[in-house]
Amino acid sequence: MNRKTAVWLLIPAFFGVLVFTFFPLIEIAIPTFQSQAGFFSLYTQFLKSSYNWTVIGRTFLIAVLTVIIVLILGLPISLWIGRQKKTVRQVLNLLILFPMLTNAVVRNFAWIIILGRDGIINKLLLSLHLIKAPLNILYTNTSIIIGSVYLFLPIMINTLIGSVAELNVEIEEAAAVLGSSPWHTLFKVIIPQLATSILTGCILVFAGTMTAYTTPQILGGNRHLVMATLIYQQAMTLGNWQNASVIALILIVISALSMWLMKRLSYRLDRRMTNA
Amino acid sequence: MANLEVKNLAKSYDGKTKVLQDISFTIENGELVSILGPSGCGKTTTLRIIAGLIQETAGQILVNGKDITKTPVYKRNFGMVFQSYALFPHLSVFDNVAFGLKMHKLSKQEINEKVSGILEMTGLSDLASQFPAQLSGGQQQRVSLARALVTNPEMLLMDEPLSNLDAKLRLKMREEIRKLQQEMKMTVLFVTHDQQECFAISDKVLIMNQGRIEQFDRPENIFHHPRTEYVARFIGYDNFIPVNADNRQDSYHIAVKGTRLTTEENNENAKVLTIRPENIQLNADSTENTLTGTITGREYLGQSFKYTIHSELGDFQVEEARQKMRSSGDEVKLTLRAKHLHPLSE
């Protein structure tokens, strides 16, 4: 077939991505290196501020904790759903898919109802006389983590269900015949087989949480900024475009680097699985 | 239908590795020719170049003497049956068959007539409104055949059309294809890796190996007179005795370690002598081309036993139709009749 045709078919998409993704990135990157104080001076300046480090640290901490919690919650339910009969599985799939496709504002807003000063949890604890004054859960790191877990749990489950359904049950039966307890089988037989999908899920959740804007905006308030909300604040509230660009680039580097690391790891796992 | 001439066809994807080289052959009008070879020998590539699905690196393809090498696939008017049948999943049986006619811009009425005719001929009339996914393998095969034939193609190209069917259906379909081909006097090029299938239905067989033609002849000629050691091995000549300057005595005799073998054919250019396992006789009442050996292995084949016999000329594979089993370690006399002992030059 004609190579020329192929080139024509590729051109619109190629230039679309090039011009509208990469060109703007370069556009905002260039001024950040043009400071009179030196090539990297804006970056060193940014990283000198302990406040900025707090934001970076918070972003990272929230992402890591979210991944861990999502994984702990997602694994058992994925195992359970993945092993249902096909019809049941499809219904459960829909139940998982529905929140995934629902607007993030809605999903985060739901947690205001639950976590707020007037929220269900406080009312419940007060009525049980477990606490005397309402707890401040909302607008803390905790509430951001809770919101992120809620936002990304369906994605993890959705990533895992497919591979769980493909697991060969005979392998577990073989392990059981050899004397492996169910608990032991879970950690030594099932989870190793799911390693690649688990990592894929973790990459999705980690990158999503790292760069999320909506959740920290709604559930974090102004005092608990993360990098994404800091970019918006710097640019739109303070009008400091250069600083916003600096944070944007740092965010790209951090998230790309972490994803690259995790992908390397999953590639190695993949090879181990296929060679075995 | 037409005759096809392929001249010096060559194909290389990277300029170095030759996938095909120097492929030349002719298919006469109304002939069914098979290309036989193991996977990767270039048989499908040859077929796809003739169809126009792959660009050749060099060579010419002529249909009725007219060069079609530069004609794009959709203007060649060939019929083709794919290994996967490649039926259009979104179209009914009727529309699958009508597709080519629509492309040739026939009137609705003509299309209806022709499609109904071919569906009847292939026994598919009742399935016209079904979709491919609802059909059995055999039925899909028939639809694919009907689709290929309905446009009155210059010739029919078949790429391992039977390999996805179970053994019983395969036999039935190959008979049907042969019958249809003879009734319609179709020119057919048939690609297969199944030797039995290919010998059963072909007028001529083209055996390929590593991108080259090993032999192109009538099936019975190939069977009795393989041209090369490769062909001989491929069609079941299991025994090979090397011929060289040391053991060749004259045009009709060689002698190895005291055993003298006579051939009916001239062995002047021979590199090797070959004989089929079933053509070696055990303990026959004859002194013609005889040597002795010891049985070292045995396989039961149902109709016969296959023995591995060690002799001073090396190991021989011998198939004996006698139901009385010989035992390992038995000493036997092997007779290699001169008329069955073929010298091969390549």
Binding site: M1, R3, T5, L9, P12, A13, F14, V17, F20, P24, E27, I28, L73, P76, I77, W80, I81, N93, L97, F98, L101, T102, N103, V105, V106, F109, A110, I114, D118, K123, Y150, V169, T185, L186, A207, T211, Y213, T214, Q217, A228, Y232, A235, W241, A248, L251, I252 | V73, Y74, K75, N77, M80, F82, A86, L87, F88, P89, M103, H104, T151, L157
Partner: protein, 262 residues
Amino acid sequence: MLNRKNKTLTIISLIILALIMLPLVLVVITSFNNQSSISLPITGFTLSWYSNIFQQPDFITGFESSLLVALIASFLALIIGIPAVYALTRYNLQHAAWFQSFFLSSTLIPEIVIGFALYQTAVITFKMPVFISLIIGHFLLCLPYVIRLITASMLMMDSHIEEASWVCGCSPKKAFFLIVLPNIKSSIIAAFMMCFINSFNNIPISLFMNGPSLTMLPPAILNYLQNNYDPTVSAISVVLMVFTALMMFLVEKVIGISNITK
């Protein structure tokens, strides 16, 4: 064995499932409450918050522009993405894998950064209309879904089908419309649905370009939520959920929903 009959596993899973569904149920309940602030348990039933949605001009125009942008961006992504995927899966190109990851590269860049960079470059520097810039941003969001889903189904499709149509006398250009498109129909619908929903729900990309000249729905809700705390937010949330459910139902009817997550 850890199968679906394992009691511990079932209980844990049901609790997690409830935790996933419960917050959304609470939103629905609060939307009917007759108190002027969002609270539970509800003290009475009213539909006035739903009618209040229509008193908010930002919600109405926001819905319109979000719908329009999502539709245009999804179409654009399909029209530009499908030919690219076709080229990558059918032409045996040397750098096909490279192009593939290039087209997916925007998934590696945080959406908020895409929105910010696009706003600065397109809107501020090059003075492009906000509407056009928004569509470009949402197109970038949609393209990876098209590339992923269509590539998967192109690879699943037997390429011999196309060849068979050529042998039947169909030119490759015609075959693309008569054979290829009908056979990847369900993945086109799936891709469209993913594009549409994600574009319609998107905040980070719309955020910067959202303003007095053009309001998008999700930022408008976010804005309302930060200034008011009444059940109107619950009501519009319920409307959005119904909207999502309707789309899922439609897709389920047409192609089976399981197709869209692969």
